[in-house]
């Protein structure tokens, strides 16, 4: 198992960040100045106040950092002033190393708060698992993967609501979706999108030969009608109509709802609730998530294009590309390997129980952070 470290701040990075920090201090000071001016118009005042509030978290950290840095300077000059006093030197050295530790901690916190955030990270998500190549075995594995996320969600205290399941003959899942809600769901799960490959002896296989099959996973940030600017005119909602003239003549239990988004032609059909209203609500949820994802990936593509033009060596992970093979679950060898960070974990059962998924997720988050740091410093250097 690979150890997960805090990113080390290189002197270069610290230098770059210092420039940003003093710019922020500057800005904050001039905003304070403006607010204290009696001739500031109410609008100016409100705008300045709003910006200050936004900066306040960062400013708190900066002032802590400044205090620490003063302390460090003080200790250093103390040490240079009396190089003979051994007791005093020992004490100062110890205090200095503690202060430097603290300085580093504050710097990395600041760096984190300065890195660009994905607005979607705090959102709830829709999980979609789909059996790929491998027939029945793929469906059975799709069910295992779906349940893995269910357990993982339970462990994190998230709510996991099944939206729709299409079962296969052997009661595996041809396709399943769920709505996951809680704190920071998308931020944690977004790297799970892609193709998950399984190698094992299927229960259906009598000769004991190991098969390889695959399921695809998609994690979509949840969105509402406002996010995607959904208009009623753009929707066509079809419900089941009984044969004959309906009404009192018939008594159906079919509550299926199909929503078509006319501009994109996208359709979502849900039928597993007895209430047509609930089916409709679920279908809308899924539709919004899908539309939002289209919009997001459109923005992401143009953004990463921009970035790779600036710095072609940067490779993006977690782009959510569903066709990228991201992970292999090898049951005979009891291991799970994530191909993006090159981590292999040897307790496959724990992973399937939703326990050790964090090994991969944390590594991927860290990797994302490092990528962000790299593009952070390159963007400042070029600017």
């Amino acid at each position: 198992m690979t150890e997960v470290h805090q990113p080390q701040l290189s002197p270069d990075l610290v230098r770059i960040m210092e420039r940003r920090l003093s710019a922020i201090e500057h800005r904050s000071a001039s905003l304070h100045n403006l607010i204290n001016q009696p001739e500031a118009s109410p609008a100016e005042y409100a705008r300045a106040n709003k910006e200050l509030r936004k900066l306040s978290g960062c400013m708190d950290l900066i002032s802590h950092l400044r205090t620490k840095q003063k302390e460090i300077d003080g200790l250093k000059s103390l040490m240079s002033e009396c190089p003979e006093d051994k007791d005093m030197l020992d004490m100062a050295t110890e205090e200095l190393s503690q202060a430097i530790e603290e300085e580093k901690r504050l710097q990395s916190l600041l760096l984190k708060s300065l890195l660009p955030k994905d607005d979607a990270d705090e959102r709830d998500s829709i999980l979609e698992v789909r059996a790929g190549t491998g027939g029945e075995e793929a469906s059975l594995f799709a069910m295992d993967v779906f349940k893995m996320y269910e357990r993982y969600s339970q462990k994190r205290g998230w709510k996991f609501e099944i939206v729709d399941i299409a079962e296969s003959d052997l009661r595996g899942y041809k396709e399943a979706s769920a709505a996951i809600s809680g704190v920071g769901v998308f931020g944690k799960l977004k790297f799970e999108s892609g193709v998950h490959r399984v190698q094992r002896v299927p229960v259906t296989e009598k000769s004991g030969r190991v098969h390889t099959s695959a399921v695809s996973v998609a994690i979509l940030p949840q969105a509402d009608e406002v996010d995607v600017q959904l208009r009623n005119e753009d929707l066509r909602i079809d419900t089941y109509r009984s044969g004959g003239s309906g009404g009192q003549h018939a008594n159906t239990t079919n509550s299926a709802v199909r929503i078509t988004h006319i501009p994109t032609g996208m359709t979502v059909a849900i039928q597993d609730e007895r209430s047509q209203h609930m089916n409709k609500a679920k279908a809308l949820k899924v539709l919004c998530a899908k539309l939002y994802e289209i919009e997001r990936s459109r923005i992401q593509i143009s953004r990463s294009k921009l970035r790779s033009e600036q710095n072609p060596s940067l490779e993006q992970i977690g782009s959510g590309d569903r066709s990228e093979r991201i992970r292999t679950y090898n049951f005979p060898q009891g291991r799970v390997t994530d191909h993006r960070v090159g981590i292999t974990h040897h307790a496959i059962d724990d992973v399937m129980q939703g326990g050790n998924l964090d090994v991969f997720i944390d590594a991927l988050l860290l990797q994302q952070e490092m990528d962000a740091i790299a593009s952070f410093s390159s963007s400042i250097d070029t600017s």
Partner: protein, 376 residues
Amino acid sequence: MPRLSYELLHHARRIDPLLIPLLHTCRSLPSAENELRWLREHVASLNTPRHPLASNASGVLPNAWRRHRLERLVTARSRGTPLQYLLGTEFFGDLELKVRPGVLIPRRETAVAIENLASLLRANGKVLRSYLLEARGDGSRLNILDLCTGTGCIPLLLQRLMRHVGIPTQILGIDISPKAVALARENGSHVAHVKDICSFDRGDIFAESSTKSTSPLESLLATKQMTNIDILVSNPPYVSPRQYLHHTERSVRNFEPKLALVPVRRSTLWTSGDAEENDNRHGDAFYPRLLQIANTIIKPKVFWCEVGDLAQAERVAAMAVDTAAWDGVQIWADEPAFASTVQHKEVSGNAIKLVGEGHGRSVICWRDEGRAWLGL
């Protein structure tokens, strides 16, 4: 009924043997699978009865009891018992209402029409509110009467939808069947908000008073302080004897009350004419009476009623036009919210709008104020 293919049955058996009997009634695998899941969830939610032998905590007996219970429900369903009677509830809009044998199960088409009616009223809520204030003063309510109320589904849904936009209502539902009235009262106490006023009473809409002074309906309205009815709604029995025999589902015919479906023949009004015409008249029997009540006793601003198909809708629209009491008449199809599809029908020399997609489902009539309430 077409036979189910051998492949389908074989496939179903591999998934779950209990699907086979369900397929007999459901006819398609996805709906059989759904129904089996709903029945399972229902059984899982039941409290197991205490059994003298179940005192040990092994849980074996409750499981056996549940399995037995599920099998019994599946058998009942395979014989055509409506799923809603087995589960004890049905959804109507976003309400979950109690249902039980002896009372008609509310239909989706009805809910869709009522939601459309409510959404028109809500869109013009301002007009409606200022009317109520001017005509009846502060704190007054929109009065809604539902004749042939069954489970009480129609007025309860209307009440809820109007409350959401801050229009308080007083609703009254009337039905001839004591079972229906009892059930509607249960539903009312279950879903109505504390601030809502709802009541349900027994009554025959055809009843005439012996003294000829006031009709029983009028006296009932007076005791309920509902003399100003703003909106009259009704989904009366409208299936003709012939349709009942040939065009109703087996499960409807065998398990739902005929009283709720086919008008009881009460006079020799239609002895002449050909058989088809007589059959139609029989199916239409409630509408002249409803219109008469609307024109002489309560004079609502809006009158809505459900019908069985487009032909019946046109006949009812013609009756309404002929009374000359209404300022507007429209026919709504199953999906009246697809308002972009509007056709015109020639009815009694007038061009009547047919709004929406699907079968003809209801007729709506209004007087002048009603037009503003509906924005039509």
